[in-house]
C-alpha cells in the first residue's frame, strides 16, 4: 500500500478543512500532529505490514504506478521525521491559530508531493509531484508576506520555471523514443538509442532541472535567500527535506532506474558535487546570519551526497543515501535550534547573540550534537556517512576528490564551531538577560532529532547492515 502515503495527507486535508475549518482551528494542530506521527510510524513499519511492490491507478494518459524499495523507504522515513519535527516547531513558532491552520494545510500538500516523489516509477508523475511540492514551498517561503520572503519565493519561482521547462522538454523527447514515460520503458528505449544527440540533450536537460531543484552549485542562487526568509517551521521543512526530495532523491532515482551510470554522468556528478561541497563550505565561513550560514552549509552537504553517489559504486551510493538521511536529521535539528533562537532573541544575526547556552540549555546541548554530527565527529551518525563517502572516493581512485571532501569537512567544523562559540558559549550578550528556553514543542523536536543522530551513530553497524546495504540488491545495476 505505498499509495497510503499520498492518500493519508490528501484525506487529511479534506478532514482538516471540513471539520476543523471553522471553530475548531485550535485543534488543527493536534490533528496534524497525530497524522504526521502516524505517517512516521507507518514509514518505519510499512514494509512489515505490506508485501506488495507495485499498484496504482492507470488511465490512458496519466499513469500512476507506485513502488517502494529500500531507497524510498529511507526517503519516506526522512520525510516522516522532518515533517513531524516541523509540525512540532509550528506550535510555538506560529502563534495565531489562523495562520497555523494555513501552514498545516500547506505542510500536508508538501507531504503529498514528497511522498509521491518517493514512490513513483514514472518520469511524468515524478515531474507532477515535484511541482506539487515546489508550489507549496513557494507559498511557505513567502508565508509571512514580508519583503524578504517574497523576494526569496520569487527567486525560487524563477529558477524553478527554468527547471520546469528543462524537464518538460526532456520528457517530451523521451516520449518520442519510448511508448510511455514509465522508468522501465524509457530505460529500455535508452538502451537502443543511447548515442542519439537528441536523447543526450534530454538527459542533460533533465539532470540540469534536478540540479536546480536540489540547489547544486552553480544552480543554487535561490537557495540561501529562500531558506533564510522562510518562517521557522518552513525552513526546517525546506532545509531538512524539500530540496533533497526534489533534487537529490530525483537524481539518485533517475540515474539508477532510468539513465544508468556512464563515465560522463559520473564525472559530472563528481565535479558538481565537489564544487558544491567547497563553495558551500567556503561561503558559509563568512556568513553572519545564522540561517544563511546553515543554508550554505546545506549546499555543501548536498555536495557530499552527490559526490558519494557519483562514485557509482555500491559503497559510495550507500554512503550517499546514509548521508542523505543523516543530513535530513541534523540539518533539521540545526534549523529547529535556529528557530528557537529566532523566536526567543528575535534575531538571526550571530553578532547579537552570545552565551545563550546558559539560558537555553536544551537548545545549546542539542545544537552541539547537531553541529558535531554535521562536521563528522565520531561516534555521531554524520561521521560514518562522511567516512564511507571518503573511503568510496579513495577506492575508486578519485584521490583529489577524497582530499577535497576531507578538507571541506575541516571547513565545516571551522564554521560550525565558530557558530557554536559565538552563539552559545562565552559571556551572555547584552540585552539577553531575560532569555527563556524555547517552548516544549521546539525542545521536544530538538531532543527527538538529537536522539536519532546519536542512536543512528552508535548503532551504525546494525543500521548500515539492515537498511542501507540491502539497497545494492535493488535494481541498481
Amino acid at each position: 500500500m505505498p499509495y497510503l502515503f499520498i492518500l493519508m495527507p490528501m484525506i487529511g486535508i479534506m478532514i482538516l478543512n471540513i471539520f476543523f475549518g471553522k471553530r475548531l482551528k485550535r485543534f488543527a494542530f493536534w490533528f496534524a500532529f497525530a497524522l504526521f506521527f502516524t505517517q512516521m510510524i507507518i514509514a518505519v513499519f510499512h514494509r512489515l505490514i505490506t508485501v506488495e511492490t507495485g499498484s496504482g491507478y492507470t488511465d490512458i494518459f496519466f499513469k500512476a504506478d507506485f513502488l517502494t524499495d529500500h531507497l524510498s523507504f529511507i526517503m519516506l522515513l526522512s520525510i516522516g521525521i522532518v515533517s513531524f519535527a516541523s509540525i512540532l516547531v509550528s506550535r510555538h513558532a506560529i502563534p495565531e491559530d489562523k495562520s497555523r491552520f494555513k501552514f498545516i494545510n500547506l505542510l500536508m500538500v508538501a507531504s503529498i508531493g514528497m511522498s509521491g516523489i518517493a514512490i513513483v516509477k514514472d518520469l511524468f508523475s515524478l515531474y507532477v509531484f515535484l511541482e506539487i511540492t515546489s508550489i507549496s514551498a513557494f507559498i511557505l517561503i513567502a508565508f509571512q508576506r514580508d519583503i524578504l520572503g517574497l523576494e526569496g519565493s520569487f527567486k525560487y519561482i524563477m529558477l524553478s520555471a527554468l527547471a520546469t521547462i528543462a524537464m518538460l522538454v526532456a520528457i517530451a523527447i523521451f516520449l518520442l523514443i519510448s511508448e510511455s514515460t514509465s522508468f522501465d520503458s524509457i530505460a529500455a528505449a535508452l538502451k537502443d538509442s543511447r548515442s542519439s544527440r537528441l536523447v543526450l540533450l534530454a538527459i542533460g536537460l533533465f539532470l540540469c532541472g534536478l540540479f536546480i531543484k536540489g540547489g547544486v552549485v552553480p544552480f543554487h542562487g535561490w537557495l540561501p535567500d529562500a531558506y533564510s526568509a522562510a518562517p521557522a517551521p518552513a525552513s526546517v521543512l525546506l532545509a531538512g527535506i524539500v530540496t533533497k526530495a526534489c533534487g537529490i532523491y530525483g537524481i539518485i532515482r533517475v540515474v539508477t532506474s532510468v539513465f544508468g551510470f556512464d563515465e560522463t554522468i559520473k564525472n559530472i556528478l563528481l565535479i558538481a558535487g565537489t564544487v558544491s561541497m567547497l563553495v558551500g563550505a567556503v561561503a558559509a565561513l563568512g556568513q553572519k546570519n545564522l540561517k544563511r550560514m546553515l543554508a550554505y552549509s546545506s549546499i555543501s552537504q548536498i555536495g557530499y551526497i552527490v559526490v558519494g553517489f557519483g562514485t557509482g559504486t555500491a559503497l559510495g551510493i550507500a554512503g550517499a543515501i546514509f548521508h542523505f538521511f543523516n543530513h535530513a536529521i541534523f540539518k533539521s535539528l540545526l534549523f529547529v535550534n535556529a528557530s528557537a533562537l529566532e523566536m526567543e532573541t528575535g534575531t538571526n544575526e550571530m553578532d547579537a547573540m552570545g552565551g545563550v547556552s546558559e539560558k537555553m540549555p536544551v537548545t545549546g546541548t542539542t545544537s552541539i550534537i547537531g553541529f558535531l554530527s554535521a562536521s563528522g565527529i565520531p561516534p555521531l551518525a554524520g561521521f560514518w556517512s562522511k567516512l564511507i563517502i571518503v573511503i568510496a572516493l579513495w577506492k575508486t581512485g578519485n584521490y583529489l576528490y577524497a582530499v577535497i571532501a576531507v578538507l571541506a569537512g575541516i571547513i565545516t567544523l571551522a564554521y560550525l564551531l565558530t557558530m557554536q562559540r559565538r552563539i552559545f558559549f562565552g559571556k551572555l550578550a547584552a540585552g539577553l538577560e531575560n532569555l527563556k528556553e524555547a517552548g516544549p514543542g521546539i525542545t521536544t523536536a530538538a531532543i527527538f532529532l538529537a536522539a536519532i543522530t546519536i542512536v543512528a551513530g552508535i548503532f551504525f553497524p546494525l543500521i548500515f547492515d539492515k537498511l542501507i546495504m540491502p539497497m545494492n540488491g535493488m535494481a541498481l545495476f
Binding site: 528543462a166 543526450l200 540533450l201 540540469c208 552553480p218 542562487g221 565561513l285 563568512g286 571551522a414
Partner: protein
C-alpha cells in the same frame, strides 16, 4: 544448540552501565541490583552456549572490516573469569562504595569495562579488537578519576601511558594487516622475520603494556593510592591481566607460530624476568598496604609473560594457569586491603597492627591468598609457578634464577605485610577498637580464598578442563601438567627458598623489633639504598623522565610554533576570508544573475553529455 547472539555479551553490560547512570543518587540497591543482574546474565549466556564454538559477523565499515565475533573455549574462559570477578567486585562495592559520591559512575564504568573487555576478547577482527581495546582506555580514565583529590592527575597519567601503548599496538595492527592481507585474526598467519618481527614486537608491546608490564606500569602504584579500591581489585588485578595475557597468547599461538629458543622467545622472557624482579624489589620496601600489592600486580605479570614467552607447552600452560591464579589471589588481596582500609581508616603499615584478632575472617583470607601468591604448596600459586619454573629452566638458567629470586622476595614482602598489618600491636590508639568488615565484603574474599584452595588441591580441573584445550591437543600431547610437580629437585629448591624467606623475615624482625621493618636491612643495604631512594621519588619513572624531556622539547617547539602560527594567522585565515568574501560578492542577490549562471552551466553540461566538448 541454543542460539544467543554474541553481541549480547557486549550489549548487556554496556546497556546496564548506561542504565545505572540514570539511577538517582539516593536510590539504594537499585544500581547494585542492575549491575548484579547484568553480571549474572553473562553467566547464563555462557552456560547456554556451553562448549560451542560460535562465529558471527556483521558488515561494518567496509567489506573486509566486518564486525566479526568468535566465541570458543579460550575466550569463553576469559569471559567466565571477567564475569566472575565482576560479580564479586560489584558485591563488594555494594558496601565499599555505599554512600560515596559518584558511585553510580563507578558501577557504570565497571559494567562498560566488562562489556568492552568481552568485545575485545570476542573480536575476530583486529579493527574490532582495537575499537574495544581503546574503549577500555576511556572507562579506565573514568574509574581512576572518581577517586580521591589526586585521582585526576593519576588518571591523566594512566591515560597517557596506556594511550601510548595502544598507539603502538595500533601500528602493530596496521603492519600485521598489511603483511597478512586480512584483518581476520583466525585467518592471519605471520612469521617473525623481517617486518613480521617488527609487527610482533609492536603487538606484544600493546598486549603486555595493557597488562601493566614494565616500563608501562608506573600508573598502577599511583592508582592504588588514588583510585577507588574495588577498581584496583578488578581492573589491574584481574581484568587487564586477563585480556592482556589473552591477547599475548593469541598473538604467540595463533597469529604468529613461534618456537622455543627463538629470538622472540628470548625477548618475551627477558621482559618477563625484568618485570617480575624489579617490581618485586619495589614491592618489598613499600610502606603502604595497597601500594605494596600494586607492585606485586606488576611483578606477577612478569611470571605470566615469562611462562608464555618460553613457547614450550609446559610454560604456556603455566603462564595461563598463573594468569587465572593471579587474578584470584591478587583481587582477593586487594579486597582484604579494602576491608582494612574501611575498618581501620588507613593502609599505612607503620600505623596498622594487630588486626588479626579483631578481623579474623579477613586475616584468614589474607593468609590463604598470601600463601598462594608466595607459591606455598598446596595452594594454586605453587602449581602454576612450578610449571613456569619448569619451562624457564628448559630455556635458560638465568631466567629460572630471576624467577626463583622473585619468589624469595615475594614471600619476604608478604611476611612483612602480614606481620605488620595483622600481628603485633597497633601503633595508633584506635587499632584495638577496629571491627570485622560487613558480611557482604567478606563473602567475595571468602569465595576467592576457597577457589584458591580448590585450584591448588584439585588442580587437574582447571588445567585439564580449561587450559589444555586452549593449547590444543597437538601441542599438549604427551605432557602431564596437573597433579603434584614431577621434578622433585625444583620443588625442593622452591621450599628452600621459602624457608630462606622465613629466616630472613625473622632476622629482620629481630633486628628492628617490628613487622613493618622486616626488610629494612635490604632496603638500607649499601648501593640499593641509593637506587630505592631515587625510585621512590619518581626519578626512574619513565613517565616523569619523559614529562621533563617533553618540557624542554615543547619550549623549543614553541619558538617554531609561533613562526608557523604567524603564517596560519595571516595566510590561511586571509585566504579563507578572501575567498569567502569573493563568493559572497558573486551572490549579488539578483535573480537574473542566478538564472544566467544556471543557463550557462546547463549549456556546458549538455554539451559535455552530448559529446560536443
Amino acid at each position: 544448540m541454543t542460539n544467543i547472539p554474541l553481541y549480547l555479551f557486549i550489549l548487556v553490560p554496556v546497556a546496564a552501565g548506561i542504565a545505572v547512570l540514570f539511577v538517582p543518587g539516593k536510590a539504594r540497591y537499585i544500581k547494585e541490583t542492575i549491575s548484579l543482574l547484568a553480571a549474572v546474565l553473562l553467566f547464563v549466556f555462557l552456560t547456554a552456549l556451553k562448549g560451542q564454538e560460535v562465529h558471527s559477523a556483521l558488515t561494518w565499515l567496509s567489506p573486509g572490516i566486518e564486525f566479526s565475533l568468535r566465541l570458543y573455549h579460550f575466550n569463553a574462559f576469559i569471559i567466565l573469569a571477567t564475569s566472575f570477578f565482576g560479580l564479586l567486585t560489584i558485591l563488594y562495592s555494594s558496601v565499599f562504595m555505599a554512600g560515596k559520591d559518584r558511585s553510580n559512575q563507578f558501577y557504570s564504568y565497571l559494567l562498560i569495562s566488562i562489556g568492552f573487555a568481552n568485545g575485545a576478547v570476542l573480536a575476530d577482527n583486529l579493527i574490532v579488537l582495537l575499537f574495544f581495546w581503546e574503549g577500555l582506555l576511556v572507562t579506565l580514565f573514568g574509574m581512576i578519576a572518581i577517586g580521591n583529590k589526586n585521582a585526576f592527575k593519576t588518571a591523566t597519567k594512566a591515560l597517557i601511558i596506556v594511550g601510548i601503548s595502544d598507539l603502538i599496538m595500533m601500528a602493530g595492527i596496521a603492519l600485521s594487516a598489511h603483511l597478512g592481507g586480512t584483518f581476520e585474526i583466525s585467518k592471519m598467519k605471520l612469521t617473525v622475520d623481517g617486518l613480521g618481527g617488527v609487527a610482533f614486537i609492536l603487538l606484544i608491546t600493546g598486549a603486555v603494556a595493557k597488562a601493566g608490564s614494565m616500563p608501562f606500569h608506573t600508573w598502577i602504584p599511583d592508582a592504588a593510592v588514588d583510585a577507588p579500591l574495588p577498581f584496583m581489585a578488578f581492573v589491574p588485578a584481574a581484568l587487564e591481566k586477563l585480556i592482556g595475557i589473552y591477547l599475548l597468547t593469541r598473538i604467540s599461538l595463533d597469529i604468529f607460530t613461534l618456537t622455543p629458543h627463538s629470538w622472540a622467545s628470548t625477548v618475551l622472557m627477558a621482559i618477563g624476568s625484568i618485570t617480575l624482579f624489579l617490581a618485586v624489589m619495589m614491592a618489598l620496601v613499600q610502606k603502604d598496604y595497597k601500594r605494596l600489592l600494586s607492585y606485586h600486580a606488576i611483578s606477577q605479570l612478569g611470571y605470566m609473560v615469562l611462562g608464555i614467552g618460553t613457547f614450550t607447552p609446559v610454560g604456556i600452560v603455566g603462564g595461563i594457569f598463573h594468569m587465572i591464579n593471579n587474578a584470584l589471589y591478587k583481587s582477593g588481596l586487594f579486597l582484604t586491603g579494602g576491608a582494612v582500609e574501611r575498618q581501620a581508616g588507613t593502609t599505612d603499615l607503620d600505623k596498622l597492627g594487630g588486626l588479626g584478632r579483631q578481623m579474623p575472617v579477613t586475616f584468614a583470607c589474607f593468609i590463604i591468598t598470601a600463601l598462594s601468591i608466595s607459591g606455598v604448596p598446596p595452594f594454586n600459586g605453587f602449581f602454576s609457578k612450578e610449571l613456569i619454573y619448569d619451562g624457564a629452566l628448559e630455556c635458560g638458567r638465568i631466567f629460572y634464577i630471576a624467577a626463583i629470586a622473585g619468589s624469595f622476595l615475594t614471600a619476604a614482602s608478604f611476611l612483612k605485610l602480614g606481620h605488620a598489618a595483622f600481628l603485633g600491636k597497633g601503633r595508633e590508639p584506635g587499632m584495638s577498637k577496629v571491627k570485622e568488615a560487613p558480611v557482604l565484603m567478606l563473602i567475595p574474599m571468602a569465595v576467592i580464598a576457597a577457589v584458591c584452595v580448590i585450584f591448588g588441591v584439585w588442580n587437574s580441573f582447571p588445567i585439564n578442563g580449561l587450559i589444555v584445550p586452549i593449547l590444543g591437543e597437538a601441542r599438549a600431547h604427551g605432557h602431564i601438567f596437573s597433579g603434584f610437580p614431577a621434578n622433585a629437585t625444583l620443588v625442593l629448591i622452591t621450599v628452600a627458598v621459602l624457608v630462606a624467606a622465613l629466616v630472613n623475615h625473622i632476622y629482620g624482625v629481630r633486628r628492628t623489633g617490628r613487622g613493618a621493618g622486616a626488610v629494612d636491612h635490604i632496603h638500607h643495604a649499601p648501593g640499593l639504598r641509593y637506587i630505592y631512594d631515587k625510585a621512590e621519588r619518581g626519578y626512574l619513572d619513565p613517565y616523569n623522565i619523559w614529562s621533563r624531556a617533553v618540557k624542554v622539547f615543547s619550549a623549543a617547539a614553541m619558538l617554531f610554533d609561533r613562526t608557523i602560527d604567524l603564517i596560519y594567522d595571516r595566510l590561511v585565515v586571509g585566504a579563507a576570508s578572501f575567498s569567502s568574501s569573493a563568493i559572497r560578492g558573486l551572490h549579488n542577490g539578483n535573480y537574473k544573475t542566478y538564472m544566467l549562471w544556471s543557463m550557462i552551466t546547463a549549456a556546458i553540461l549538455i554539451a559535455i553529455i552530448a559529446g560536443v566538448i
